[in-house]
């Protein structure tokens, strides 16, 4: 186990390095940040000064080594746009994003698993077919369109929920979050639901597929033959079998929700990390992009690690040395 962890950690460092190189080259390919940031009124001299001030006058490889040297000391650079340390900008957005992603995951599980179980256990029922058809709609609507519709219906027409933004923040057990105030909860419902819909659809489908398959497996037949209650067969034996694909997908989706809820955060003016990365990309704010993506790599590596460990916990047939990769 320790060897496994240490090896993973070393591989992660390599992934981080590769990521930072790609971002440096990527930004270099897209354009010069100064062209985006400089006031149109600025003359050529001012442009040259700005390029120098941001360290963009050095050759790209030199810029990269300056970055590496600073990163080794824990300094991932200052934002070109905000003139604040990139990490500070990322961390100050994190609570809002975690609130949104967490709420969305819970919503999608609460919606997805029961519906998927139902559809899997009664595949021929009309309700099940309705669920399956409905779930298709869930991921075929573009999120921006669906988001605006939610705002139009629940905020503008019905006036039940606030249209955009994050609500009041309160502190509970030392954690600051808008989930602790009623105003905050009211604000999070629509964007979280917008994010949850697509994932709920995916979970419904995976659950149903897993259930249908496991019902035909020998061990389920055996469990039934043993006279176990239906509840126990479904709750323990069937449910366990659908967990592997479910855990994989949920793992992937959580990462995506945290890192790239870009469209939902834009439409709902949610001050999260997705909004930060799209703004940074649009303004070629390289320090923030590099720092952000390195954080996200770490996040995904951590998620994948947890997923792999969960595999072996859920299914004894998978051993950790199998997933040492």
């Amino acid at each position: 186990m320790t060897v496994f962890m240490v090896r993973r950690l070393m591989q992660s460092v390599v992934v981080l390095l590769v990521m930072s190189v790609i971002v440096f080259l990527g930004v270099f390919a897209i354009g010069n940040p100064v062209d985006i940031l400089i006031s149109p009124d600025a003359d050529q001299m001012e442009r040259e000064r700005a390029i120098k001030a941001l360290g963009l006058d050095l050759p790209i490889w030199e810029q990269y080594f300056v970055f590496l040297a600073n990163a080794a000391r824990g300094d991932l650079g200052r934002s070109f746009v905000f003139n604040e340390p990139a990490l500070r900008l990322i961390f100050e957005r994190m609570p809002a994003t975690l609130e949104l992603a967490g709420t969305a995951v819970v919503m999608s599980l609460v919606i997805g698993i029961p519906l998927g179980l139902y559809a899997g256990l009664r595949p021929q029922a009309a309700t099940s077919k309705g669920i399956m058809a409905g779930s298709i709609v869930g991921f075929s609507l573009p999120t921006f369109w669906q988001g605006l519709m939610l705002i139009m219906v629940f905020a503008v027409m019905l006036g039940w929920l606030p249209s955009t933004g994050r609500g009041q923040v309160a502190t509970f057990l030392g954690i600051k979050s808008s989930l602790f105030t009623s105003d905050g909860l009211a604000h999070v419902i629509l964007p979280a639901f917008n994010l949850a819909l697509g994932n709920a659809a995916l979970i419904i489908r995976l659950t149903r597929a897993g259930v249908r398959e496991s019902l035909l497996q020998d061990y389920v037949k055996f469990a039934r033959a043993k006279g176990l209650s239906n509840q126990r067969v479904v709750g323990v034996h069937v449910f366990k079998n659908i967990l592997i694909p479910l855990v994989t997908v949920i793992g992937l989706e959580i990462g995506g929700l945290i890192a790239f809820a870009v469209v939902t955060e834009s439409i709902f003016a949610w001050p999260g990390m997705g909004k930060l990365i799209i703004d940074s990309i649009n303004q070629l704010d390289r320090p923030v992009m590099v720092a952000y993506l390195m954080m996200i790599v770490l996040l995904f590596i951590a998620i994948n690690l947890v997923v792999d460990i969960l595999y072996s916990a859920i299914d004894p047939r998978v051993r950790l040395q199998d997933v040492k990769g």
Binding site: Q11, S12, V14, V15, V18, M19, I22, G26, A29, I30, K129, A133, I136, V137, F139, S140, L141, P142, T143, F144, W145, L148, M152, G198, A201, R205, L206, A209, R212, E213, L216, Q217, P245, T248, V249, L252, G256, A259, F260, V262, V263, I277, I278, I281, L293, I296, V297, L299, F300, I301, N304, V307, Y311, D315, R317, V318, D322, V323, K324, G325
Partner: protein, 303 residues
Amino acid sequence: MTAPLVTLVPPPKIETPFRRLVSEFMESPLAVVGLVVLTIILLVAIFAPLISPQNPYDLAKLDILDSRLQPGSKSMDGMTFWLGTDGQGRDMLSGIFYGLRTSLAVGVFSGICAMMVGMAAGLAAAYFGGRVETLIMRLVDLQLSFPTILIALILLAVLGQGIGKIILALVIVQWAYYARTIRGTALVERRREYVEAAVCLGLSKPRIIFGHILPNCMPPMIVIGTVQVASAIALEATLSFLGIGLPITEPSLGLLIANGFEYLLSGKYWISFFPGIALLVTIVSINLVGDQLRDVLNPRLRK
């Protein structure tokens, strides 16, 4: 040792598996409806240039003075816009026909390519383990942490605009999903008795991977595949919405919806409503067919 082999591995395909497949497929009327609709959609997409009243990709054929006309209006030169026009004076009906063609091309090509790349990578990782697995899975990590928007923007800046580049971007984005999922499933399958049996029989590695493990990994792959074709189409719409998708003069369904999005609050519903419906019908029919195919192809659900 031979007994489990017979029950668990698909029987050798000597009879006509295709006929059996067809008859099993036909058991679900819903899937048949889906197939019919999908066939019609494919025909429309293929023959779009022949059946469209206007070539919506040719700027010379559009007139800005015809823009934002209601469904059923007549153009300056007497043509009827059955579904109205968009902000450029583009006939929505023709736009949808051509858009279907573009969207399907994007969805299907990127879906197939991503699935093949992802499947090969995932299976290789699961079967070979060791360094191969490490390399592939860390690549997956890297890929999943990389925002689609950034990939699309880099490709746009380096290669320019175009449908090929969008497909490339989507493949780069999506292969990792397949790779990760199939590896998860394959890890489990690899430990099953039938694989051990096959190894004992001295079958070659490729034969075990493709002949035995792969078919058993297919059900979740088809679920993800049908979902991913749909989400590729939706993702392309999102990229277009963010301004880094297809060229604006050659709209896909997604781009039509993204353009119509600007008119959603203005009462000009037809600009995004009709392409939205077309997208919905397409994706629903793909999934109806996909669902049934998955059940039919699943070796373990077979009676």
